[in-house]
């Protein structure tokens, strides 16, 4: 779903996780403040500039956006047809572009649909920037800083660590089943779902066994021996972090000021 962390020396990589989290919040909130697509488009462009200057692989982004495309089209159609013209302040936006079975498709509704699409894009892109540039342990420390219990954070980290292991296990199980005549993922829809049972059961049994071993291994490594644990790399706010956080706060205040002047409405 998201692009995984990739170590690099880009300017966003060097920022503290809190600066990035705040940035993500600011971008998202601003996108919800305005209704007009023009300002959201500007934000998307800004986000894209950041995204590509830090060297994010474009294939990964395509993979995330592609499954969203049908949803985007659906959103445009629904907002276009369902938003009554009376919702819009300007006359231009009340104009009907065309009608289908006497349901009007308004320009304002269409533009509002674009705004919604852009909001999703903003969230996808900014969260990608965060996950691509931030190692998981930093995110865990952020959780710790906002007083989420250590055990909970540990569960998340271990879960992430075991994703590739489980993928490999499931591949191995599929191979073993195929080798003795199982036809996995072929045939009709129902049949192909049924065939995955031969993969699921060994996978579940194996995970249960692994979780038992994991519990033993945790004890062997002294999990819970002391009241506190030591973090190897503690997250640290530097000068540039404070500077950027300040800028982010200004930006969001400015956005609210503009909105109060009725700019960016439809």
């Amino acid at each position: 779903m998201l692009i995984e962390y990739y170590p690099s020396e880009s300017y966003v990589h060097k920022l503290d996780v809190r600066t990035k989290a705040l940035g993500f919040l600011v971008f998202t909130i601003i996108s919800f403040v305005f209704l007009s697509p023009v300002i959201n488009l500007l934000i998307v462009l800004c986000a894209c500039v950041i995204l590509f200057t830090i060297g994010t692989p474009s294939t990964g982004i395509k993979k995330i956006i592609k499954p969203l495309l049908p949803i985007f089209i659906l959103m445009l159609l629904i907002t276009g047809f369902t938003y009554p013209a009376s919702n819009f302040i300007s006359e231009e936006n009340q104009r009907t572009l065309f009608s289908l079975w006497s349901i009007p498709f308004t320009l304002g509704g269409f533009l509002y649909g674009i705004t919604l699409v852009l909001r999703i894009l903003i969230m996808v892109i900014t969260s990608t920037i965060v996950t691509y540039t931030t190692p998981i342990e930093d995110i865990l420390q952020l959780l710790k800083k906002i007083k989420i219990p250590h055990q909970f954070a540990f569960i998340i980290a271990t879960g992430i660590r075991f994703i590739p292991t489980m993928q490999k296990k499931s591949e191995m199980i599929q191979e073993a089943q195929k080798a003795r005549g199982a036809e996995i993922g072929t045939g009709g829809f129902i049949k192909s779902i049924g065939s995955y049972i031969t993969v699921l059961i060994p996978l579940i049994v194996d995970s249960l066994r692994m979780s038992d071993n994991l519990a033993i291994a945790m004890l062997n490594r002294g999990f819970g021996a002391m009241k506190t644990t030591t973090d190897l790399n503690e997250i640290k706010m530097r000068g540039r972090d404070y500077l950027i956080c300040f800028g982010e706060v200004i930006l969001i205040a400015f956005a609210f000021w503009l909105r109060s002047k009725n700019i960016g409405v439809l």
Binding site: K178, R180, I197, P202, D206, M210, N213, L214, A225
Partner: protein, 584 residues
């Protein structure tokens, strides 16, 4: 008597232990003591209680795995009943079998730091111990690597590093080498003996590695049925070949020859060989020159006239974005051949085998099974011709009874109920599970589950069988049973391909050995030829069985044969000694 125990020592005084919900005692009376700085090997059959013993030592039993526990276990002067496992972990490090479930970090550095950070070491100290432990296991420079991208051997070493970083005084390792190739195995033992030499670490290791135990262990403790049945110096144990075999351990090859000479009255018990030098010393003293008739030196590859079962033409394969995994292979395997595929991990053995039943498809080239191009056939369709037995039986078991499990592959074949049941029963009988048809597969032991997995493949009645490391993690008895089964199938005319790291088995059972190295075939021929190519084997990090090395050493004395099994060498030697006896 009150006894003062040193730090770093271990003392087990167990009256009895029984798991909760278990009917019989695992242990009834187990006593042993380990001094500080010793290197102890814990040996015995699968199911003898080795793992359970190790879990006693840091208090996992009785704290985590509960049961009826009577007695005292004192590790590093601490009685395990009075301390939490996490507290014991600071002083006694336990490395378990499966490295996968002992790795917590996403990067190597994070993983090694997991233990020390749980113990709330200072940050600077953690950095220091992480570096030190990674260096000790030979993983320097791996700090930022993702743990998911490590190889099996590297994961095993990382698991050891993770425990070392907590600076334990006692290090306990449960079969750390069972999944490794011979080179990786040797590396782990060297690493441990290095640790022992350097400092005050007491080491207890379990495993089935006869040669390594002989070389590195100070003392061996043998368990059977939850009881200590033998304890002492490894040389003493392995000199007594009869006893070694009786307690389910494979004796070293040279000791077998020595034992045979002893039985003929040529050696006394104490001078049974335990290493090659002793053997060579003996031959030097007793055999000035060999006069045995030369029965076919390096017997030529008797080209089989049977029809071809497997043929690959210019077979190449690469995994995505990686360099080639198979490079233009042209291999012909005849019907009824027993082929051993050997080579280091990652040399291409498994990748090649998976091409033969369509689990992987060639990037270039063609695979023919019984003369037919298989590119249009699915793996499921091929399963009637090519059976593939995987290493881990738990990757395929999903039915509620043993019978249903075996039935699975047949369901799609439109067979009558009667034929089906005869086929299932004969497959189960062949592997020796006929009494268990109604049992739930997961209530069987690991060895039995492996046999079950084998039966599920056999029931499809494939004429070609591929077996991926059938003896990995098995004790000597299990290994022998598995090999006898394969041999029986071979006698019945099956074509068998066995991937193995065990050169002794390859030499004894296979009539052809194919050596893989760097995605290519390095050597291909009968074992009598392949194993004597010592220089080429070295380049592929393969060590031939001891008897081959010994035979090569005997060349000076005029020995001309090419034995690959210890029996053959032994017979030649006896014949020579007897002949000499007659002349005198």
């Amino acid at each position: 008597m009150f006894e003062v125990l040193e730090r770093g020592s271990l003392k087990v005084d167990l009256l009895r232990f029984k798991y909760k919900n278990c009917l019989t005692d695992i242990f009834s009376s187990l006593n042993f003591k380990i001094e500080k700085g010793e290197f102890i090997g814990l040996m015995g059959r699968t199911g003898a209680g080795k793992t359970t013993t190790m879990m006693l030592l840091n208090g996992l039993i009785p704290h985590f795995l509960e049961g009826d526990f009577e007695g005292n276990v004192i590790a590093n002067t601490m009685n395990t009943q009075r301390y939490r496992v996490q507290t014991m972990a600071r002083f006694i490090g336990l490395v378990l079998q499966d490295p996968e479930t002992q790795i917590f970090g996403i990067t190597v550095e994070q993983d090694v730091a997991f233990g020390p950070s749980n113990l709330a070491f200072e940050k600077e100290k953690i950095r220091k111990v992480v570096g030190k432990s990674l260096k000790a296991v030979g993983l320097e420079g791996y700090e930022k690597r993702m743990t998911s991208e490590l190889s099996g051997g590297e994961k095993q070493r990382l698991a050891i590093a993770g425990v070392l970083a907590m600076e334990p005084e006692i290090l306990v390792l449960d079969e750390p080498t069972s999944e490794l190739d011979p080179a990786g195995k040797e590396e782990i033992y060297k690493l441990l003996s290095g640790l022992k030499k350097k400092g005050d670490v007491t080491i207890l290791i379990s495993g089935h590695d006869t040669e390594e135990m002989l070389e590195y262990a100070d003392r061996i403790i043998v368990l059977d049925n939850g009881q200590k049945i033998w304890e002492g110096r490894p040389t003493v144990l392995f000199k007594n070949v009869v006893l070694t075999k009786k307690i389910g351990i494979r004796p070293p090859e040279v000791a077998e020859i020595g034992n045979c000479l002893k039985e003929c009255g040529l050696l006394d018990q104490d001078s049974v060989f335990t290493n090659r030098n002793e053997f060579l010393q003996f031959t030097k003293n007793n055999l000035s020159s060999f006069k045995t008739s030369d029965n076919g030196s390096g017997k030529g590859h008797s080209v089989s006239n049977d029809s071809i079962a497997i043929e690959t033409k210019d077979l190449s394969f690469n995994y995505q974005q990686k360099k080639s995994a198979l490079n233009e292979l042209n291999i012909k395997i005849h019907k009824g051949e027993f082929v051993a595929l050997i080579g280091k991990n990652g040399a291409g053995k498994t990748t090649f085998s998976k091409q033969l039943n369509g689990l992987l498809r060639p990037t270039k080239g063609t695979v023919f099974i019984n003369g037919n191009d298989i590119s249009q056939l699915t793996t499921a369709q091929l399963s009637k011709e090519v059976g593939y037995v995987f290493q881990n039986p738990d990757h395929q078991i999903f039915s509620a009874t043993v019978y249903e499990e075996v039935e699975f592959g047949l369901k799609k074949m439109n067979l009558s109920e009667k034929i089906r049941s005869t086929r299932i029963n004969s497959a189960l009988e062949f592997v020796g599970l006929e009494k268990f048809t109604k049992r739930h597969p997961f209530t069987l032991g690991k060895g039995e589950r492996q046999k079950l997995a084998f039966a599920t493949v056999l029931v499809m009645e494939p004429k070609i069988l591929i077996i991926d490391e059938p003896t990995t993690g098995q004790d000597w008895d299990g290994t022998n049973k598995m090999m006898r089964m394969l041999d029986k199938l071979h006698m019945k005319g099956h074509t068998i391909l066995m991937i193995t790291h065990n050169m002794i088995l390859a030499a004894e059972y296979a009539d052809r050995v194919i050596v893989f190295s760097n995605s290519k075939v390095l050597l291909d021929g009968p074992p009598e030829k392949v194993f004597y190519e010592s220089e080429i084997l070295k380049s592929a990090s393969i060590t031939a069985p001891d008897c081959v090395i010994l035979a090569a050493e005997l060349r000076d004395t005029g020995y001309k044969n090419y034995p690959v099994t210890i029996n053959k060498l032994q017979n030649d030697l006896l014949e020579q000694l007897a002949w000499k006896g007659n002349v005198n």
